[in-house]
């Protein structure tokens, strides 16, 4: 069967959409990280704006609510001098309403230049990228459990900032991996950037053996998964998992897989602790760890704005 070209790249191999980390060459990822470094210094200036996206309209299309992610995208777009329009299209179960493609067509008619899309269904941004006008760029802000590429990139930026060399690291990702788009993006980025040892840690209901196909070592024991790790990425545990018969309670999860000081002691002494946020204190992570010296959760947020500025400015500068 004919496999189409990766829709994120144009015929010259340049990034025109950011839909997922998988399929992107290492050089593309590194270029984004390098560019993000640039924008960090912009964020330290008095005038925190550059005119790269001036006159462009960026539409935040959030079919799934998220104030924090939407806000960071808005800040990033505004720092690039773009006009930002926020559309909260919460899905109502009572009526189907306008179809996804009709919504996109209407917005394109309003001269949108870029869509930042968050959707509860895996693959939605691909459908959008396929059907929008050629000059419009799409950034995936999270689709179902498939991908959250800007989070993956800012996580990589964070790791590179504190640890420098990817090729000698042990990285542990802990929690509800099977449902996590952040985990998938992190895993693809880590493997592409050459991290030799990636552990996926959690109970079998949340970390099935299947995951090994993505290039990770599945660990059902927290101790084994954390031991000697340089980087620990904790994932948020959602309440739905309790009702879906995957876990008995948050308390039992914390007992076995929560990150506490004594579990952290098993990792390398200079290990860093990351979390995409928002954190559930006492569920996946203890407060002393979240606020402790190993935690880089707050720098992640700062890096997130620079990374999003980098992504938007790179794709806006490439033609379809």
């Amino acid at each position: 069967m004919l496999m189409k070209r990766n829709p994120q790249l144009n015929a010259h191999g340049e990034l025109i959409h950011l839909l997922s980390i998988e399929g992107l060459p290492r050089a593309v990822l590194t270029h984004i990280l390098d560019t993000a470094g640039t924008f960090l210094s912009v964020n330290d200036r008095e005038v925190k704006k550059v005119p790269l996206l001036r006159g462009k309209s960026v539409f935040n299309l959030f079919f799934e609510n998220s104030t924090r992610t939407r806000t960071t995208f808005e800040i990033a777009a505004k720092r690039l001098s773009a006009d930002v329009i926020n559309l909260d299209i919460a899905k109502s179960s009572a009526s189907k309403g306008e179809s996804l493609l009709d919504t996109i067509a209407n917005l394109s008619a309003m001269h949108a230049d870029m869509f930042v899309v968050r959707h509860s269904e895996s693959g939605a941004p691909y459908l959008i990228a396929q059907h929008c006008a050629p000059h419009v760029h799409v950034v995936n802000a999270g689709d179902g459990r498939h991908a959250h590429p800007t989070q993956g990139l800012l996580d990589m930026y964070t790791i590179r900032h504190f640890k420098k060399d990817f090729t000698s690291l042990s990285v542990a990702i802990v929690g509800d991996i099977v449902h996590s788009r952040v985990a998938r993006s992190d895993i693809h980025a880590l493997t592409t950037l050459g991290v030799p040892d990636i552990r996926a840690v959690g109970p079998k209901t949340l970390v099935p053996g299947d995951l090994k196909h993505m290039g990770v070592r599945v660990c059902h024991s927290m101790e084994e998964g954390i031991r000697g790790a340089d980087v620990i990425i904790m994932l948020r545990l959602q309440n739905e998992r309790m009702s879906g018969a995957m876990l008995p309670s948050a308390g039992e999860f914390f007992k076995n897989y929560g990150l506490t000081d004594d579990k952290l002691a098993l990792a390398k002494p200079d290990a860093i602790v990351m979390h995409p946020g928002p954190i559930n204190r006492g569920v996946e992570i203890d407060s002393t760890v979240a606020d402790g010296s190993h935690s880089v959760i707050l720098p992640q947020v700062t890096f997130g704005i620079a990374v999003r500025m980098a992504v938007m400015s790179i794709i806006a500068g490439n033609d379809a």
Binding site: N6, L127, G144, D210
Partner: protein
């Protein structure tokens, strides 16, 4: 109408005939195969030079979307699609709206199909009222109206007591129950469990959804002695269970769809909604097992699983897209492709879409059983004339069905399909001729 089909290569899988011969048709029946008397004055001559003259195809699963989903497929367009595909008899599942659980609905459907004279229609009646899996339908009444068996379509009966009773009741009268082996709870994902679903973040349907349901069905068949036709097997493990059950002598038959026969989960690519299908596309090893099983007869027949889907219902994110693909016009080509890949000759290949499906239907066909799926003098004149060497590309504009979505579309595959239908004859009437 008197028809003469000349110069063709006549292939009849049942008798083993495979030779150049002419075919004379009159009064809805085949008069002569071989040398036709010069006295025969045909109203219509079909020149089958370079073509195969085969029995009309029998498709065990094609949805016509009537009654109910008229915006998806009017009876006329879908039966025209059947004729264009060389299909002269088709079986339609009962998941119409309302479900085919009332004799009146079946009568109406058969009446309208007969008037169109494009293809013979054999409906499956609903096994339970409204397909709800609770109360039985009036199977005798429905059979009298023309149902050839009873089915739950894609809706599994979760209550095993109800399922057992339904099989017992059907067994009393010798009705065949058509069941798709899929566990109601395990089967709720949108893609087959495996590396692809994991990577794409799509909820998975494990093989266990099929094997657990199969084992339940097989056990109930043992107990009740019912005849069951298993619809759309999708996994190697499922095939293994079927093989063992058949070896035991249980009254089981099974089919596989053109989609599962040729595609795997990798073909989902970048969330292509044309690949959103039930059963979901599984892995390469499963496909290989299905192909081998169809060749050795463990899987009796190949069907199109024709399911026209509205553009609005397909152009959605993968998990929300309605499952299904158009298939009537692709059944012959995809059978030929599989046959060629498997090294089977034309007769063995054609058997899977002509005589074998007829054998599955068995005496539900009544008197038709003796000649449907066959080319025999004195038998019904259901014929498909096709050029095995021709190729064609699948494009929406070419398809007669209102369902334009198929994984085999040229845009996706970049390849042409083998085999082009030149003429289709149903009950001695020309239902379709290809444009010159």
């Amino acid at each position: 109408m008197k028809i003469l089909i000349k110069n063709g290569r006549v292939i009849d899988p049942v008798s083993g005939r495979d030779e150049r011969a002419d075919v004379a048709i009159a009064g809805g029946r085949i008069l002569t195969i071989g040398v036709v008397s010069p006295d025969f004055q045909p109203n219509r001559v079909i020149d089958a030079a370079g073509c195969v003259v085969a029995p009309g195809l029998v498709d065990l699963a094609a949805r016509l979307r009537e009654p109910g989903h008229e915006h998806e497929g009017m009876l006329e367009s879908e039966l025209n699609a059947a004729a264009a595909g060389g299909v002269t008899s088709l079986v339609c599942p009962p998941d119409t709206d309302p479900a085919l659980d009332e004799p009146g609905l079946v009568d109406m459907l058969k009446f309208r199909a007969r008037k169109l004279s494009l293809c013979r229609l054999f409906p499956l009646g609903a096994l339970t009222r409204g397909l709800a899996g609770e109360t039985l339908t009036e199977m005798a009444e429905l059979t009298e109206s023309g149902c050839v068996g009873f089915s739950q379509a894609e809706v599994p009966v979760k209550d095993t007591l109800v399922l057992m009773r339904a099989l017992q009741y059907a067994a009393t009268f010798g009705y065949t129950v058509w069941l798709r082996p899929q566990d109601g709870w395990l089967g709720q994902g949108v893609a087959a469990s495996g590396a692809v679903a994991t990577r794409l973040g799509l909820s998975g349907v494990p093989v266990a959804a099929e094997t657990i349901a199969l084992q339940t069905i097989i056990e109930l068949v043992r107990i009740t002695g019912a005849r069951v036709h298993l619809c759309r097997l999708s996994s190697a493990a499922g095939v293994a269970l079927l093989r063992a059950a058949k070896a035991e002598g249980l009254a089981l038959t099974a089919d596989v769809s053109i989609n599962s026969l040729h595609l795997t989960d990798v073909d989902i690519g970048f969330f292509n909604p044309a690949m959103r299908l039930t059963p979901p596309l599984r892995q390469g090893a499963d496909r290989d097992a299905l192909r081998a099983a169809l060749a050795d007869g463990t899987l009796d027949a190949l069907c199109s699983d024709h399911t026209p889907v509205d553009a609005d219902a397909k152009n959605l994110p993968f998990g929300e897209a309605e499952p299904g693909a158009t298939g009537l016009e692709l059944l012959l080509s995809l059978a030929l492709k599989w046959g060629a890949d498997s090294g089977l000759g034309l007769p063995a290949t054609l058997a899977r879409i002509t005589s074998a499906p007829v054998a599955v239907l068995g005496d539900a066909l009544g008197s038709l059983q003796s000649s449907a799926g066959r080319l025999v003098e004195g038998g019904v004149a259901d014929v498909c004339v096709f050029d095995p060497e021709a190729t064609w590309v699948v494009k929406p504009g070419v398809l007669k069905s209102q369902g334009k979505h198929t994984p085999f579309a040229f845009d996706a595959t970049g390849t042409a399909l083998p085999g082009a239908v030149r003429a289709t004859v149903v009950a001695g009437n020309v239902a379709y001729t290809a444009a010159a």
